[in-house]
Amino acid sequence: MSIGIAPPATVGAESYASAPRSLWSDAWRRLRRNRLAVLSGAFLVLISLFAITAPWLPFLQDPTLQDLGRGATPPSPAHWFGTDELGRDTFTRVAYGGRISMLVGLVGTLVSLVIGVTWGAVAGYVGGKLDEFMMRVVDVLYSLPYIFLVILLLVFFSKSLLMLFVALGLVQWLTMARIVRGQVLSLRTQTFVEAARAIGAGTPAILFRHIVPNTLGPVIVFTTLTVPAVILQEAFLSFLGLGVQPPDASWGTLLSDGAKVLALFPWLVIFPGFAMSLTLLAFNFLGDGLRDALDPQGRRDGA
């Protein structure tokens, strides 16, 4: 992708000792210097691989395999994270719970990404009355205590995974729309857009081929920060019994089940809680690092 401002070729190319760097290689260099972010990224890659390949890993058991005779046992060499009341291996359950949590996090983010980017890009590019109307809609939605609407949506329609994806995605797109609109507003007056229009590109082509790719920096940063937010909200809903339903289990449902027997089998809370907190922490560190690398000015707006 040819993003970034290439150095003007006329200004004596020999004055550039090294090859011109694009925005992306520059950002990559900055990111690599942030050790915490690199470590977090590596951790996330590992834990994702682990979650994806869980069904084929030889040392994991069947997550639904019950052994009522055994019941709940504390961590041991055979069951690293112990077992629950039904004798199910907690390590396996945490791995499979991670699959669901990550899936919800990614799909929810994707839904919010598609809606938010489209909404923001159209509002920012078309402008005028339409922009005003679309942003007013965002304002009104912003002021809604949306989590209640999500709860209602889940309670009154269905508690399926699909509904969860939709509900969480619907909640998350507002900020994305605002970010993209702001970017588009400043991009649409630039010469490369004029050039695209001059060669006869239509509005959708200009918008999605030329403008949207240039908003990628902030969008990537915000996406990295949205994934943990969605994972957190899924866990919140599951904790209240409104999210993922059995026999599926996410980290949220594991925590919810574990919290009920906290006094007797504390390991049922500690391990899922640990897995989840570490993952969220890694996403936040990575998001912070990406913001410093891709969007140095964005640092000032938020904390």
Partner: protein
Amino acid sequence: MITFLTRRLLLMIPTLWVIATLTFFMMRLAPGGPFMSEKDIPAATKVQLMKQYGLDKPLAEQYGRFLLNAARFDFGPSYKYPQQQVREIIAEGFKVSAELGGWALLFALALGVPIGVIAAVNQNRAPDHVVMALALAGVSIPNFVLGPILVLVFSLTLYWLPPALWRGPETRILPVLALAVSYVAYIARLTRAGMLEVLRQDYIRTARAKGLSERVVVLKHALKLGMLPVVSYLGPAAARIIMGSIVIEQIFAIPGLGRYLVIGATNKDYTLVLGVVLFYASFLMMLNLFVDIAYTKLDPRVELK
């Protein structure tokens, strides 16, 4: 100022109407009514019940009546507990939730702001790095993980504090702590960012050039403007604390509004859920209005339009 207030108050009406309409129709469209679970009640009783709650009327009339009553904050009796008015349940639950949330917010400000200031003054030195890493960790630990762990340590292992309920002052500590920690962390980050922005401004240099002590410069000159991001976060923070208190009330068995909401939601208690949602919506909007007013008091450059 007056025009700003009236404009904002008027703008609240359509927003509340949207919420009320959305929730009303969502519940009516939802499969299964509040009396579906009691399968063996006689048909006559059912008709009687439907009549009592006005469910036999045409939908339009139900909707109109609902809007009229909602405007007066009257949501009728609860479906689940017919002897209790929703209004009373809300008043009762909110007293508890407001206390929980209020303490949490106060605690978060009292701890988060000083931490943020210390980090900002020591920018890029050891205290800053430590505080900010801890703050990020604090943001990342969800309150439904922190709550059970606090109970595990302080109630079930050390026997210092009660693990649940809402009676004496000692029962307040763990829930407030579990609710507040992530906001301490977030407010610390916001304060740091705000202070860093302010500390590099010219008027701070002027204050230093006058020979004022660093203490006066930071606390008297910088802090007021540095707090602006924190003030504008208070609105969303209140919304999040309400959300968090739903979980905390669940964990610690606290009879707050969040607990009633969850009970109402799982029992399809239409009137109760509608009441709580509308109440929280208007409460949050009022709060945001106050936050905006407070903002102008802190930053004279901002004008209310």
